[in-house]
Amino acid sequence: MIALPEFRPFRVLGKTPLTERSFALFLVPDDGAPIAPFRAGQWAMLRLRNPDGTPWGQAAFSFVTAPSAVMTSLEFGIKRAGEFTRRLDALQVGDVLDLRGPYGVFTPKEEEKELICFSGGIGVTPFVCMAREIAAGGLARTMTLMTSNGGEYSAPYLHELRNLAAATPALRLVETFSSTAPEGWTGERGRIDAAMLARQFPSFTDSEIMACGSADFLGGVMAALEQRGVSADRVVREKFF
């Protein structure tokens, strides 16, 4: 019999700002039971309650905590975009919500290949989880993560990723800024396109390719990859809303 995830109560341990429009939410189990094991790239369903305890609504968020580093809390990176995330942001320390998971198969699979990942904005969260897991020694992969953000200050987890990449030989970070690059920036600028891919990736032959972001972002990445000879069925995509 397959055990399906059930909703469990989790308590808000804290929140920290990531950017002007996004924040990290930290949750701990409120039922005394341990956190269920998950893999980097998976996600959980968070369900908010009405004041009377009945469910108000639910939405899916990727785990950001590295699976092998989970002790007592879970981290989710959340962009404020709509009523659900506004209510999430309004939660106070000690408030309780419900969590069900893990779910999903947006996880690295082809162990022998280099992992090449593309993220747009808050779509970076599953890759932060993978990068942390590689840095923690829980995922034996070589990973190149190409992030696309409007600017440095609207880029969730960017500083952490820079630090992880600097300290972890198996991690390479490529950044592009579509509207405002940092002062003195000599790296990539603009949206990801075929010329940028040609500069940054000599080949996609022996690689496992994943992409996460908005529909618009994914459309651009897929078009650029196609121009570089990568067929769509080789790119595992997760669309963030």
Binding site: I2, R100, Y103, G104, V105, A232, D233
Partner: protein
């Protein structure tokens, strides 16, 4: 019995619970959405909807797969009676 098995691609967010429970009936594609299989086969190409003939004892697994979806994206209909078996209407 004949079923119309459908995955609402707008609702599907890649939980893959259906694939875990009924791998003969569902498979994930590169867009991280579930497609429908007919006993492990994708005759005619990938599809989010198929009419499949099943033995009565196969129904429980398919219904369980549909129930496991956290967004109710799997719709199961009995073609012969016209009844939507899941989600309940």
């Amino acid at each position: 019995m004949k079923l119309r098995l459908r995955v609402d691609q707008d609702l599907c967010i890649g939980a893959a619970s259906c694939v875990t429970i009924a791998p003969e009936s569902f498979v994930m594609n590169a867009e991280n959405k579930a497609e429908v299989l007919d006993h492990g086969a994708a005759q005619g190409g990938p599809s989010y909807e198929r009419i499949i003939e099943i033995a009565p004892e196969e129904l429980d697994t398919i219904i369980l797969a549909a129930q496991a979806c956290p967004t109710l994206a799997v719709i199961v209909e009995d073609i012969e009676t016209g009844e939507q078996l899941y989600p309940p209407v």
